[in-house]
């Protein structure tokens, strides 16, 4: 049994919950190396997604992710808007009209999302950005997809993203506002990597 539109809608609802719950934590992470608005922006963005979904419930997972993309790009405000927006948009395109998402399709959608983030933000692994959560997640998802179990794919991606977020601590920021800080960015965890891990963890909860 694969994943369907109900999984996507639960994923987005749980992501919205996670952004609300971790709002202050994300703001605190963003304060020393950014403009301390990441928690607020993500919370506002996902709340707006929930409103849009309630107004016109999407009928496929792809449509739900596309609606999320457009809303985040318009409502988040900071760099996370176009980055997550592009990620969800590319994932939506990868899913297309698929009603029953299998493990391989899911891993492909995650990869499309990561590729979208890289194309939009031009960051590489090790730059201390959300790419450092997404790339290990994509690799783990691809490796887990062989078993054909979507839940294993989701879990592998979430765990790798969480480890990836932690791995940004010693990195020197080379992209975004944090890069202006140079050496002083070392020792702080990247807020975008943390929110990415929270969103991928929400995807696991949505499939339970």
């Amino acid at each position: 049994m694969g994943l369907d539109v109900n999984w996507a809608l639960r994923w987005l609802a749980l992501s919205a919950d996670a952004m609300a719950e971790h709002r202050e934590e994300l703001i605190e992470l963003d304060r020393p190396i950014g403009d301390s608005d990441h928690g607020e922006n993500m919370d506002r963005g996902f709340k707006a997604v929930m409103v849009k979904i309630a107004e016109a419930p999407p009928e496929t997972a792809g449509a739900a992710l596309k609606l999320t993309a457009m809303t985040l790009m318009s409502k988040v405000g900071g760099a996370a808007g176009p980055l997550y927006g592009t990620a969800f948009l590319r994932a939506a395109t990868a899913l297309g009209e698929t009603a029953d998402i299998d493990a391989g399709t899911l891993a492909t959608a995650f990869q499309a999302a990561r590729d979208g983030i890289v194309a939009r933000g031009k960051a590489e692994s090790g730059d201390k950005t959300m790419v450092d959560a997404w790339t290990p997640a994509v690799d783990a998802a691809a490796a887990a997809a062989g078993d054909g179990d979507v839940r294993k794919v989701l879990l592998a991606a979430a765990e790798a993203a969480e480890a990836g977020a932690v791995s940004t601590d010693p990195m020197l920021a080379r992209k975004g506002r944090a890069s202006y800080l140079g050496e002083r960015s070392i020792g702080h965890r990247d807020p975008g990597a943390v929110s990415s891990a929270l969103i991928l963890r929400a995807a696991v909860g949505a499939a339970e």
């Binding site: 403009d35 608005d37 922006n41 457009m70 790009m73 318009s74 409502k75 988040v76 405000g77 900071g78 760099a79 808007g81 176009p82 980055l83 927006g85 592009t86 939009r120 933000g121 992209k175 975004g176 506002r177």
Partner: protein, 224 residues
């Protein structure tokens, strides 16, 4: 009809202010501000940028050049360009917002096409490339010497008019050794009223370029 300009900034005030400044020098150019978020915060909004791009596309068929400030404004502008009906009609200039916008506006006012307007904005950015010209030793195809007659001499507005106007011509032009396409180099001449500007031009439009500069400089750029 001229090329249209769209300004994407994190701040509504910066976008509006930059438009106000550039509009002074380009009264016939449609310049649209897309600054801040939907609810008036600092940030960029796809919706606002899309609205500006659509308005610009409605108003003409000559193309649109987009200028941005910090990183995520670039990302939002790039995202928006993926959704417009004709992406090839929209060009993103990699230029400092204020200086680039002024140079772009003047070039658009002078009738440059979208690529020329983008080039005018980006020329502001480039470091002086003097050594490259040095070993070329080709004699100029057209020259002229014109005295600066306006009170303020070579300041930002005349420099923008020169670089903007030249961007629409196919000619390599130097003015007292400075690249005529570079607003920054022209301003760095620090030429005061009474200075004689030596113009050297080569390329298919060399003569037109010298004529253009003669008209502009001897008329004091329309200034007192």
């Amino acid at each position: 009809m001229t090329v249209k300009l769209v300004v994407v900034s994190h701040s509504e005030k910066i976008a509006d202010g930059a438009v106000e400044l550039a509009a002074q020098m380009a009264p016939d150019v449609l310049i649209l501000a897309a600054g801040g978020t939907d609810d008036g915060r600092i940030g960029t909004s796809l919706e606002r940028v899309m609205a500006a791009l659509e308005q610009a596309a409605d108003a003409n068929s000559d193309g649109t050049v987009v200028l941005t400030d910090l990183g995520s404004a670039v990302m939002t502008a790039e995202s928006a360009m993926e959704f417009v009906a004709d992406p090839s009609a929209v060009l993103l200039a990699d230029a400092p917002l204020v200086e680039g916008l002024v140079a772009a506006a003047v070039a658009a006012q002078a009738g440059a096409d979208a690529a020329g307007v983008k080039e005018a904005a980006e020329a502001v950015y480039r470091p002086p490339a003097a050594p490259q010209h040095a070993h070329e030793h080709r004699p100029p195809e057209a020259t002229g010497d014109f005295e600066l007659v306006n009170q303020a001499g070579m300041h930002a507005r005349p420099a923008a008019k020169i670089s903007g106007g030249l961007s629409g011509l196919d000619a390599e032009v130097t003015i007292n050794g400075a690249d005529g396409a570079s607003m920054t180099e022209l301003m760095m001449l620090g030429a005061a009223k009474g200075t004689v500007l030596h113009v050297e031009a080569s390329g298919p439009d060399a003569a037109r370029a010298v004529d253009y500069l003669r008209g502009l400089i001897t008329a004091g750029f329309g200034e007192p």
